[in-house]
């Protein structure tokens, strides 16, 4: 392949750079909001609205009660969560990670693995 630049190419390239340089500041100076920004902002507003419509703190309260938390505590526990956190738990409290145990079970697993592998 020809890697040297022909005079024509250099001309085209520098024209391109000139045009870019001329256009860019104009664009920035005008300070208009791009369509992309408008649409994105609209989408975000709609999404937020849809999410907040789904937001149901009572649902999470009920789930906590289902898992053995008393009513009064469930109320206070949910009150300390943000909207985003409530929405996350609403999606499935049964799926959320619950950290609980340590130690013994791991030891058992290791013993089983050792027995299996040897």
């Amino acid at each position: 392949m020809d890697t040297t630049l022909s005079p024509l190419r250099i001309l085209i390239a520098s024209l391109f750079v000139l045009v870019l340089a001329a256009v860019t500041p104009l664009h920035a100076q005008a300070g208009i909001v791009t369509t992309d920004e408008v649409v994105t902002e609209q989408t975000q507003a709609v999404e937020r609205e849809q999410l907040l419509e789904k937001l149901d703190r009572d649902d999470v309260k009920a789930q906590l009660k289902h898992y053995g938390v008393d009513a009064e505590q469930a109320q206070e526990r949910v009150a300390a969560m943000t909207d985003a956190e409530v929405l996350e738990l609403q999606a499935g409290l049964d799926q959320a990670i619950a950290g609980g145990d340590a130690g013994l079970a791991t030891l058992l697993l290791v013993v089983i693995l050792v027995l299996l592998l040897t």
Partner: protein
Amino acid sequence: MPASFTRWLWALALPLVLATGCATAPLQHPNLAPASDGEARQVELSATPFYSQTAYQCGPSALATLLQTSGVDRATPDTLAEQVYLPGRRGSLQTELIAATRRAGRIPYRLEPRFEHLLDELRAGHPVLVLQNLKLPRWPQWHYAVVVGFDLDEEQVILRSGTERRQALSFERFERTWQMGDYWALVVTPPGQTPATASATRYLQAVVPMEQQQRWEAAIAGYRAAAQRWPDNPASHMGLGNIAFQTGRYTEAQGHFEQAVAIDPELPSAHYNLAWALLYQGERSQARQAAERARALAPEHPRFGRAVSALEAEASERSR
């Protein structure tokens, strides 16, 4: 011939690659930047309290350790169990550890998922609560523990974990378990301090819920700490101003909004809120000027664009 041989190799290798995909996710600790001069190679926060966990109660125990270190004397595994433990799940959710931290009047800060940040927090004297999976990806055993130290030469971390007051794990073993927990890590600092590795936006995002839940004292301490650490960020002053406004201290609110304007004169929200703080003190013409600046800075914005008319409407409402 060579082509079919390659295909054979792939047929053999692919299932292996897929099967071990999880186990071979790259670990961070082998690529830690060497400790720079004056940076500790070994840290152990020996004074960190320990609460031996009873059945499934690692969440309340680990959180009690963290909250006690941040100065919450009333935090014990028993009181926290009521706030975070889920009997039906035999464990505690991450969200609830965060929520309980707020209830204790402390700001829960989640670290970025980086091994070096863990070390930096320990260097700054902050124990780190982590989520580990002690078993396998498909057969998880989720566990909370508190990292209280490390040794770069021994390649070990020291934890308060389960029923072990001082558990030493190799970097390798620890990171594997922590990696399966998506490097989830929580730091809780005493009021007025910020985590060593905190970024302004991440920290402010952790303070905002404190304000929303009207935990004013903790929120004010958080915003003040942020203002001190990131003096160029106007958001901390917006936060302080908004709390003052919501609690009816309009003169103080005005002062904070003016500081936000001084930091960023082109921030429409600062002018907008300043307008309201002025209006509520009866400074109608000054308020109008501030609203006009907000409008001029963002004329197309659904809120700031209508700053002047909204302010005028409120003004006539109030003068009625």
